[in-house]
Symmetry: C2
Subunit: 220 residues, 2 copies
């Protein structure tokens, strides 16, 4: 019987329920898929989708190009898998903002969680930045649905805090934008930050500064 000609694994942005008969991935599949995703993250986050090549990714993963394409059916598929994995975790910090908690604490906590994400997952941050810069062709619908809904929801919460006088009367949307901007900057513009502050770890100072900024912004 000829070998199975389909590719192992799943890699879609759409919710593809795992088929009942899907075999569990072998040890080798796990290792190589992880290597490919990590390599793809390195390359895509640096050069964007169109600027990256399968050869680069294969090199970085330590595999031959045909072997790459044995695990993922196309360049697109690798990219889609990375974006899917990214989006899963990317919105979590905002989801965790609790409307029943202490306003200032909640918002500062959110900002710090987001900063930690930039520190611990700078490649993911740059992958996302690249995607947005290029017009977000592959995640536009998600931005307009999931992201917008989540932001609308939390903006309502923040606005109610402002109306109740618990925080200063700021525009909640711009507040959220500013937290995104302030935190992602350290990952996305790392080269520039390093050029201006050579040798130092910017994240320590950034955390302190961020605390200062947010608390000042929110003081009623």
């Amino acid at each position: 019987m000829p070998a199975n000609r389909t590719h192992p694994g799943r890699y879609s942005l759409k919710n593809e329920r795992p088929l009942i008969m899907t075999k569990p991935p072998t040890r080798i599949q796990k290792r190589n898929q992880a290597a490919i995703l990590s390599a793809g993250l390195d390359i895509f986050s640096q050069f964007g989708f169109r600027g990256s090549t399968l050869d680069q990714i294969a090199d970085a993963a330590g595999l031959s190009k045909p072997n790459l394409l044995y695990y993922f059916p196309s360049k697109e598929a690798i990219h889609a898998a990375l974006l899917a994995r990214l989006l899963e975790t990317w919105l979590d910090p905002l989801k965790a903002l609790n409307g029943n908690g202490d306003p200032v604490k909640e918002i500062m906590g959110y900002a710090q969680r987001k900063l930690a994400l930039s520190k611990d997952y700078p490649r993911e941050s740059r992958l996302f930045a690249n995607e947005i810069l290029q017009g977000a062709p592959r995640i536009e619908t998600i931005l307009h649905s999931d992201l917008k809904n989540l932001v609308d929801e939390k903006a309502t919460v923040i606005r109610s805090w402002a109306d109740a006088g618990k925080i200063a009367p700021v525009d909640p949307y711009h507040l959220i934008f500013s937290i995104w901007a302030l935190t992602q900057h350290y990952a996305d513009f790392d080269v520039q930050v390093q050029a201006v502050m050579p040798g130092s770890d910017p994240y320590a100072g950034a955390a302190t500064y961020l605390d200062h900024v947010i608390s000042r912004i929110l003081q009623p």
Copy 2:
């Protein structure tokens, strides 16, 4: 006598003194070079250097590819010309920060000038963002020299203001980073901003919010 085989115009990042015998550009040269630079800006700012193709740029400029290469000797040259033009204006707002002026007014003025730049030149902002995201291979030296020197100089000014109690004791480097982040975000992540706040012009709200933020940050 055969036609001049060199390309018209200048397009180097290095300071290339205009040769004495350089002929003034013709009407057609001016028009086409401008069209190419504008088209290049459109394409490069969206796809980055490696993700952009000469065909795309030629199409956008309404020229054939060989005609493109009659005006600029290579893809690199177009990109370099754009970066050079960009860097000229990009540092101006910070240069204009006056150490003898009123601290809060100066810093708020700087932030507003930077925001205006994002609003009026979003493509330039994205070109820069793309370059930084990709590791700034073509402007690294400038970041380490011109940019760093300028930031160091202004950071000293800001620190002296803080030491004199005229503004809150903030880290001047992170203050500058935060101004960059807050203002560039609206140009670089425009798609995301538009997805979350559809239809509205974010810059009006951004200017108000920015004023609020900066004044709060700096209150002694």
